[in-house]
């Protein structure tokens, strides 16, 4: 089982590595990190902070884009191009295939996050911007966030077209950053049903904002262990649920 999952994951990474588009995306991300240096000169104060802000944001934005971009086709493409036919007929259970693809893509996106992080740290170092533990926490949680996103994209990819999947995943990404505002809006409402609905959505939708330590990193604000480990734990649990659901849906799917 692990061998099969690893084989599929490995092959997914190999596909990504041999795909030139990715290099272009990473190149742009690194470029954007560099552009932060240019932008920062527009301001006469807190320039290092602006460099790091643009850098961290570029990493988060591009890793999210790459996750969605690759995730929405992850399973669908295999079904559509029928490459999956010869795989699930080789004593590979469908859920093994799904998990393998998922892990492969996560590994791919993480490799990109690492490349971008190295670029970020290099730019920070060269411009004399401070680097403290919070930067590493922020990057770690970015890795957590993309693992969430890839799981959601994989889930949708298991039963719908990339077009629809990118709408849904994009929607989850957007709403995932607003659930806290949503909850707050709900709690301010006088209507009980609105309150309940807001609360249900808050608990149902992924709370992606809890993976966002950008401000803490930029200003070196104190970060408690709970602010790092609980989001990671939450992410792990959420991903498990999403992938389990995806596996169930995928299990009953006809490959026509």
């Amino acid at each position: 089982m692990f061998g099969r999952i690893a084989t599929i994951a490995n092959n997914t990474v190999r596909e990504a590595v041999r795909n030139k588009v990715l290099y272009a995306l990473v190149f742009f991300a690194v470029l954007l990190i560099g552009v932060g240096v240019l932008l920062s000169t527009l301001s006469y104060v807190e320039q290092e902070r602006i460099i790091q802000d643009v850098g961290l944001s570029a990493i988060r934005l591009f890793s999210a884009l790459i996750s969605i971009f690759l995730g929405v086709g992850l399973i669908h493409k295999e079904v559509d191009r029928r490459t999956i036919y010869t795989i699930v007929t080789k004593s590979v259970a469908r859920w093994e295939f799904l998990i393998g693809k998922y892990l492969g893509l996560v590994a791919t996106v993480w490799m990109q996050v690492i490349v971008m992080s190295v670029a970020f740290l290099a730019v920070s170092y060269l411009t004399g911007a401070p680097i403290h533990a919070q930067h590493f926490y922020a990057l770690l949680l970015t890795a957590g966030e993309v693992a969430m996103l890839v799981a959601i994209a994989t889930f949708f990819s298991a039963f719908t077209t990339p077009m629809l999947a990118s709408f849904f995943t994009g929607g989850f990404y957007v709403v995932g950053h607003l659930t806290r505002d949503l909850k707050q809006l709900g709690s301010q409402s006088d209507v009980e049903s609105v309150k309940t609905a807001a609360n249900v959505l808050y608990r149902l939708l992924p709370d992606l904002e809890s993976f966002n330590l950008t401000v803490e990193a930029l200003h070196g604000l104190p970060v408690t262990p709970a602010e790092v480990w609980f989001p990671l734990l939450y992410g792990l649990a959420y991903i498990s649920v999403v992938l389990l659901l995806g596996s169930v849906v995928f299990h009953f799917k006809d490959f026509r």
């Binding site: 932008l39 944001s57 957007v174």
Partner: protein, 308 residues
């Protein structure tokens, strides 16, 4: 070969055309178009989708461009600046300088100054141990609003914070006693001058300090004029009379700081510098129309500027 060269030339020609046309498109920053483009902070927060700090920096750069030459008179855009800094600091309340940036430029009206103080309030909430925010707030109370007790409170708070300049403690009792504010203004402006972020801003403070120094010298001349009246039983007709003849009251006139002259104001009979043509008043709100553009052109504002 020929057709290849033709192709290259055609592309070069077209690219030049594109560049020309592009140059025709107005490229003024959005913020220069006025506050209409500035969204509600709540909306900006939702639209930033978790990239709050990046959005905050975006609006910060917009605000800076206003001051950096996008508009003629930045403090006339005080409200727009305030709205921008409001967004900047709601999206990322941990920023430091933007609060004081707002305070420096939001001097166009009493409302602007009070708005700036609200932003400084937010700064104090988020940076309780940064004495500068109290200081700027105190300065606003003192200089623009003539609210001495409030000014004294803020300066007292600032003085209590480690790292604040020692003379702040001395300013507090003076503010409490509501004594005349020339020296307080000079002290505070010196502080602002000292901590100005660059030469352009420093020049602005120097101007304000010059104004205060001119006023100090004018007051010295006033004293001399009183002595002259006692000694001669008549008033001067020209300022130079103070330092000529055997019964002169001054050995020489203090130089006008810009190298201009001292003269008697036709209307009020006061000794004024020919540079300013009016006497300086510390608490300018006593003068009607302080916060109107005409008052500003009379150089009544203290400015800190960007280097752009």
């Amino acid at each position: 070969m020929i057709d290849r060269i033709a192709c290259v030339l055609a592309v070069a020609l077209l690219a030049t055309g594109v560049d020309r046309i592009h140059a025709e498109i107005p490229s003024t920053p959005k913020s220069a178009k006025g506050e209409a483009f500035v969204p509600q902070p709540q909306l900006a927060k939702i639209a930033s989708l978790g990239f709050d700090s990046l959005a905050s920096d975006y609006y910060w750069l917009q605000a800076i461009q206003l001051v950096g030459g996008a508009v003629e008179d930045p403090s006339a855009h005080g409200y727009t600046i305030g709205r921008l800094v409001d967004i900047v600091t709601q999206l990322n309340p941990h920023v430091g300088h933007p609060y004081r940036f707002a305070a420096i430029w939001m001097t166009g009206s009493e409302n602007d100054v009070r708005f700036a103080n609200e932003l400084l309030e937010r700064a104090i909430e988020n940076h309780p141990s940064d004495w500068r925010n109290y200081f700027y707030k105190g300065f606003n109370h003192f200089y623009y609003l003539a609210e001495y007790p409030e000014a004294a409170d803020e300066l007292e708070a600032a003085a209590g914070i480690a790292g604040s300049p020692a003379y702040l403690k001395r300013l507090v009792p003076r503010l409490r006693s509501q004594s005349e504010g020339l020296e307080v203004a000079a002290a505070m402006l010196s502080e602002l001058h000292r901590s100005a972020p660059g030469p352009a801003a420093r020049v602005e403070y120097e101007k304000a300090l010059d104004e205060i120094e001119t006023e100090r010298r004018a007051r010295m001349l006033d004293d001399a004029r009183e002595r002259f009246k006692k000694r001669h039983g008549r008033d001067i007709e020209q300022v130079e009379e103070l330092a000529v003849g055997p019964k002169r009251v001054l050995r020489e006139l203090p130089p006008e700081i810009h190298g201009w002259e001292w003269m008697l104001d036709n209307r009020t009979g006061e000794i004024v510098s020919s540079y300013y043509k009016a006497r300086y008043q510390v608490h300018q709100h006593h003068r009607p129309g302080l916060f109107t553009p005409s008052a500003k052109t009379a150089k009544t504002n203290v400015r800190e500027g960007s280097e752009q």
